[in-house]
């Protein structure tokens, strides 16, 4: 089925903003964090708050109404809430570019924030309460057995992957080490002490296959981006970063229902990637970097396989030898990712993708970056992928 019109290059990201990423130093409400990040993104674009006429977001960080009220928007034209866990922010971008391309609105704000340290400590069992049917099934059929925190749930994936393909913990460590190396170049990052594979292997065991350094951070913070039409982007403050392609991927059984998925390792990444690349009209070979959602180290490894960087099962060898570090063949998470910069549901991956393509990534700049991939990954396995270019 071919679309009536292509969304390729119709829109551009023109403003980005982030709060400081902290771990309980002060408590600020999510709305407060979202407004700060949003105000920064709008200013970065050279726009004023009143210029915003569309809002997209995830279920966290505040509501459309908070933006309308605080920025004094008298006549918002469009809103969409994207509910795909950690894939929400990238998926929300798809709504934004559709709305702009359809002429429904001109300047869309995407915002996210949470207190992942001060409030919702995922590692301590405090998951964001979901209204999904399957969350309630999990309460019945999983929680009584202790199959609850993301690390425990996802370990079932990892154990099976290790069983089928011989993937090793040390290979997961390569991903943790790469993200930390990149975070050390980033003043915004929470974790800036370099680590080695041995540090990874010595870090606390969460399950039989996952260690502390395989897990993303718990942080408080927020981020936002502003999107507008490619045409209008040319006259704004920053160099536009165009959205070439974007796509979502949802496995047959919903994200929260890991155990029953027919292809157990299907996490929607292959579908999302395929759609994004088709829309973009480029291939993996054209990418200069990849900001891959890294709720856990192995989520990066799985995505590398499913997106086609290497065959399924070869992710372990792929991440060895510095291939995914700056200077390597495919730099991954040049900002440090959720593993070492901050866990803000991947809004930071979008921001980093934009900075790289503007040439504003500082010490972590990928030389001559022209095209990059940004992904989001939801709960336990659905995915959104976006290809950006300058």
């Amino acid at each position: 089925m071919s679309p009536m019109c292509s969304l390729r290059d119709t829109c551009a990201i023109v403003g980005v903003g982030q709060t400081r990423f902290t771990r309980g130093e002060t408590y600020r409400t999510p709305v407060d964090l979202s407004l700060e990040a949003s105000a920064k993104a709008i200013a970065d674009a050279g726009l004023k708050p009143h210029d915003i006429d569309g809002v997209v977001c995830s279920p966290l960080g505040g509501k459309t109404d908070d933006i309308i009220t605080n920025f004094g928007l008298s006549d918002l034209k469009y809103h969409a809430i994207s509910s795909m866990g950690g894939a929400s922010n990238v998926a929300a971008m798809q709504s934004a570019i559709m709305a702009i391309s359809a002429g429904l609105c001109s300047n869309v704000l995407l915002f996210f924030s949470w207190n992942g340290y001060s409030d919702m400590r995922v590692g301590g069992g405090k998951l964001p309460v979901s209204d999904s049917t399957f969350y309630h099934y999990r309460l019945q059929f999983e929680k009584p057995y202790g199959y609850w925190s993301p690390a425990i749930v996802m370990s079932a994936w990892v154990n099976r992957h290790m069983h089928l393909y011989g993937t090793k913990s040390r290979q997961l460590g390569e991903i943790a080490v790469a993200c930390r190396k990149h975070a050390c170049l980033n003043d915004d990052a929470v974790m800036r002490v370099p680590i080695t594979i041995e540090d990874h292997q010595n870090s606390r065991a969460i399950t039989n296959c996952l260690r502390l350094l395989d897990c993303s951070l718990e942080t408080d913070g927020g981020g936002a981006v502003v999107i507008t039409s490619a045409e209008r982007a040319k006259s704004l403050k920053q160099r536009p970063v165009y959205i070439m392609g974007i796509g979502e991927g949802h496995p047959p059984l919903v994200a929260e229902q890991v155990p029953g998925r027919p292809d157990f390792l299907n996490m929607g990444a292959a579908s999302a990637g395929k759609r994004a690349f088709e829309m973009a009209g480029v291939t993996l070979k054209d990418l200069d970097f990849a900001e891959l959602y890294d709720g856990f180290s192995f989520v990066v490894l799985f995505q590398l396989e499913e997106l086609g960087f290497c065959p399924r099962g070869d992710g372990g060898p792929y991440v060895e030898g510095g291939r995914i570090q700056l200077g390597g063949e495919m730099p991954v998470n040049t900002h440090g990712g959720l593993l070492s910069q901050a866990h803000v549901w991947g809004i930071n991956h979008i921001v980093e993708g934009v900075k790289q393509l503007r040439g504003q990534a500082g010490k972590a700049q990928v030389k001559d970056a022209e095209i990059g991939l940004v992904t989001g990954f939801g709960a336990v396995g659905d995915c959104a992928a976006m290809i950006l270019r300058r």
Binding site: G124, L139, Q140, G146, Y147, I152, V153, N159, P259
Partner: protein, 137 residues
């Protein structure tokens, strides 16, 4: 008997029959009345044929280990005393699309093998609630 502090299912919910079965040490799985497909988790509609009719069918309780997590850091304080414990994902014999989550009992971590045959074993955790778990067959 000490108070059981770990999370319990709501046995008066939509899945009353399932939990009644478990209390009687019967393993029940939802089955479509129209096409006979077993499904898990329980849900209103059959994904194969679209029927809204189902039964709770008793199954033998044989399976094999599809995957697992051996937990060293408890997900919440109530599980602290159990650590290390293993959660099993069990592929049900006779209905390979059905994968059940339960505790793996009576198997030291070093003996766990994906593919190992298992048999359901009910844990009577309170007078009202029995939890289906799994032991090496």
């Amino acid at each position: 008997m000490a108070e059981y502090e770990k999370p319990l299912p709501d046995c008066n919910s939509d899945f009353k029959e399932y939990w009644e079965g478990a209390r009687n040490h019967k393993l029940l799985v939802q089955q479509c009345s129209s096409c006979g497909t077993y499904r898990w988790y329980p849900r209103p509609v059959c994904g194969e044929c679209g029927s809204f009719d189902h039964t709770w069918s008793e199954v033998k309780g044989n399976g094999k280990l599809f995957s697992y997590s051996t937990v060293y850091r408890p997900p919440m304080p109530e599980f602290k005393a159990d650590v290390p414990f293993t959660v099993a994902i069990v592929e049900l014999e006779g209905a390979s699309n059905v994968r059940l989550v339960g505790r793996l009992l009576g198997c030291p971590p070093e003996a766990i093998r994906i593919g190992m045959p298992l048999k359901v074993s009910f844990e009577d955790v309170t007078p009202e609630v029995s939890l289906p778990s799994w032991k090496p067959a």
